[in-house]
Subunit: 155 residues, 3 copies
Amino acid sequence: MNRVETALEALGIVLPPAPNPVAAYRPVKIVGSIAFVSGQIPMRDGALEAAGSVPSTVSVAEAAQAARLCALNGLAALKAALDGDLNRIQEVVRVGVFVTSDAGFFGQPAVADGASQLLVDVFGDSGRHARAAVGCIALPLGAAVEVEMTVAIND
Amino acid sequence: MNRVETALEALGIVLPPAPNPVAAYRPVKIVGSIAFVSGQIPMRDGALEAAGSVPSTVSVAEAAQAARLCALNGLAALKAALDGDLNRIQEVVRVGVFVTSDAGFFGQPAVADGASQLLVDVFGDSGRHARAAVGCIALPLGAAVEVEMTVAIND
Amino acid sequence: MNRVETALEALGIVLPPAPNPVAAYRPVKIVGSIAFVSGQIPMRDGALEAAGSVPSTVSVAEAAQAARLCALNGLAALKAALDGDLNRIQEVVRVGVFVTSDAGFFGQPAVADGASQLLVDVFGDSGRHARAAVGCIALPLGAAVEVEMTVAIND
């Protein structure tokens, strides 16, 4: 079992199944040593876990958990794209976090931390990344959060 | 005539003129083997084709067509940046789609498909890409959609 | 004194201190010859300079100045990440500009120009970049603008 799988096990994390391939776009696109992960929403077992705006419908704590779930779904997509070998991930490079936000809500960083902390928990220092967190009026399927990631990989 | 031009012709697509160079930023910036295309809005013959929020002012079908037009404008910009040779495009890597959205509208993926499908129609499997689609409260000039692209190119 | 520092001095610009390292993410992440700068907000001396929506609370001119300040904060972060040597920046590649926008505000490009022009003033032609400018319902801490940047660097 490799380094990343060991970390996941120590954290008690079982990755979800990889998202189904979609039509004209892909969950992950690899070019050279960079993998681009499509925006992930907080799906669990085929259902959206956090729907609505933050904080009126979804609390900040719930949204942070949803961001963590988005990151896990992204790792699941990466695992499938990397033929099961998450150890090929060298660095998490950039994370974009979109949060469905009430007009006066300014706590997008606290929501985004749910994804960022998960990545550091799993990858250690190489999991630290550049990040942009912004508030959106609406996201696909009504998701409270969407997370996209860019990672550097080994050949 | 090269592969991509042949595909465009078969699809009955005539690329629009490239967007004019702008002041402090560029329609396309190339670094190494990656070309970054600036956010494109659905301009046609100098006029904005789809203005307003989805779906109250612009229908989902209209917005998807607008996203397709954004992608075509991006290809026109790439063609100019690549000295007319679209065949140098190896892979479409990432597409970001921003949709001006009513507060309760969650169909951003259906809108974004207008851009994604065009790219697959033109480039085949290498046109498949990672994607993030989000809802915005407002976009430049009142555009219903904005699409930015990252592509991998040959030297 | 190097080329970039000379340009900054000629413009009368003193870079602010670099943003503090944050917890699970970083102000700058470098992978290979690309540096990704996290989304910057218009902080000056520890206080947010432009808070609120454009143009109801923050004017377009004020927001453009705020975007310029975001870019300066990004350069400060890059300087720290590059061991003080801004001359290692070869090209500004991509700039993402998020503007807290009233529902009917479509002048995001004019706001973004505050950041874009600063980068051209400092780096000349190599400061020209691809750009996406979009309107958001809310941004971290209530910032009127957030700017993220991608730059190409020398080894």
